[in-house]
């Protein structure tokens, strides 16, 4: 792992980022005779301060400062309705900055040194080269608990067909999604031009195969693409606490999207429990105002799944559907509103 700190000396002459010397960004004492003295006042992540990169990359730094990857405000927005106003203040003071926001991505976290997760990082992505992208060493780390291994098949199911076709994160999640577009979004749901299946798959209702055309026509607006095309179990996390983290196991869930209350989609258990923030003295007075299951764009898409092969998988077997019995114990009362009572397909005489 020490190799993660090894700078490629061949870069020094070619890359203008090195023109001002190491100390310009990293501070420290370049004349220090020992590791300790050289690292005194060291700035490990100089791009945490956007002004560092904005000296040359002004426009990107300006928009990035408002982007969700930098602000991570979506995490706060996602949970805040569970708090009273007093609890929200405590959350902002004691939890958000120290815990949630510690995960924010700096410029360097995508372009220079792989982000640390749980204190572990592979270090410099390419010897301190300033790279445009390397999803396997950047996105895969912060999003390596759920989405990325589900996408590659490492989590146990089949790989997403897009991965098999050679597509990585940036093929759908564009540069403007990462750098921001200047709007300070509060949630990823609000981001303009966020990835959508129909950006590429535009022939719904025109398929050559009649059964496919019928299935798409009948379910459009009622079921998301993931509802039929998510191919396997994905990670369900539960029982999260500030001091101990959460536990996880595989699962596949279908239910109503809590964001619109009417579309059937894949759901993921989000592990906030009633005493998640007990360590910070926050009881979550309005815990039941939000459910524990949220719509998830499961990144394990296949053309053919159990649900595309047979209508019975849903309409008769109800495979994977959220049920009252399956709701996790002592969960939010709002969870019951996500249960969808699917009906059998009527037989017309």
């Amino acid at each position: 792992m020490y190799k993660g700190y090894l700078v490629d000396k061949n870069l020094l002459a070619k890359d203008p980022h090195f023109a001002m010397g190491c100390k310009f960004c990293h501070k420290g004492d370049e004349n220090g005779g020992t590791k300790e003295s050289a690292h005194k006042n060291l700035v490990k992540r100089p791009s945490d301060n956007l002004k560092t990169c904005s000296m040359c990359h002004r426009q990107i730094a300006d928009t990035y400062g408002k982007s969700l990857h930098y602000t991570t405000i979506g995490q706060r927005q996602g949970v805040m309705k569970r708090f009273s106003s007093e609890e929200l203040k405590q959350f902002d003071e004691k939890v958000f900055q120290q815990s949630c926001r510690s995960c924010h991505a700096s410029c360097g976290g995508c372009h220079v040194k792989a982000p640390a997760v749980g204190g572990i990082s592979i270090g410099l992505i390419q010897g301190h080269k300033f790279i445009k992208k390397d999803e396997g060493k950047t996105c895969a780390f912060c999003h390596g608990g759920r989405v990325y291994p589900e996408y590659t098949g490492e989590y146990g199911g089949k790989p997403d067909v897009h991965y098999q076709k050679g597509m990585l994160c940036m093929d759908c999640h564009k540069k403007s999604d990462m750098h921001g577009d200047g709007t300070a979004y509060l949630s990823k749901q609000d981001v303009k031009d966020r990835p959508a299946c129909t950006n590429c798959h535009r022939t719904l209702g025109q398929e050559a195969k009649l059964t496919t055309r019928a299935a798409h026509t009948r379910h459009t607006g009622k079921v998301t693409c993931y509802g039929c095309h998510s191919s396997a179990e994905y990670r369900q996390c539960s029982n999260c606490h500030l001091d101990t983290g959460s536990t996880a196991k595989p699962g596949f869930l279908l239910g109503l999207n809590p964001r619109d209350g009417k579309t059937l989609t894949t759901l993921r258990l989000i592990p906030t429990v009633r005493d998640s923030f007990k360590h910070a003295g926050i009881a979550m007075s309005n815990y039941d105002s939000l459910p524990n299951y949220w719509n998830t764009p499961a990144h394990n898409i296949r053309k053919r799944t159990d649900r595309t092969r047979s209508c019975d998988a849903c309409h008769t077997d109800k495979a994977g559907f959220l049920t009252r019995e399956g709701l996790f114990e002592k969960g939010s009362k709002a969870n019951e509103g996500l249960i969808y009572n699917i009906k059998p397909i009527p037989i017309h005489k």
Binding site: A19, G21, K23, K35, A38, Q75, G119, G245
Partner: protein, 54 residues
């Protein structure tokens, strides 16, 4: 005028040349470009309890 221009260009060239070797002369790189030195100095980090966003 021509002399001033020539002197100014020489100054610019000097600054550019000295800055391009600024990184090369940095003491930081004595360790950070040496595989053997880093291997000797490296201490593995302690594992944290946190997990990535996923």
């Amino acid at each position: 005028m021509k002399t001033k221009l020539a002197l100014f260009s020489a100054l610019l060239l000097f600054l550019a040349a000295s800055s391009t070797v600024a990184a090369g002369k940095s003491g930081c790189l004595t360790c950070h470009t040496s595989d053997a030195t880093l291997k000797l100095l490296y201490k593995p980090p302690a594992m944290g309890a946190s997990e990535g966003e996923g």
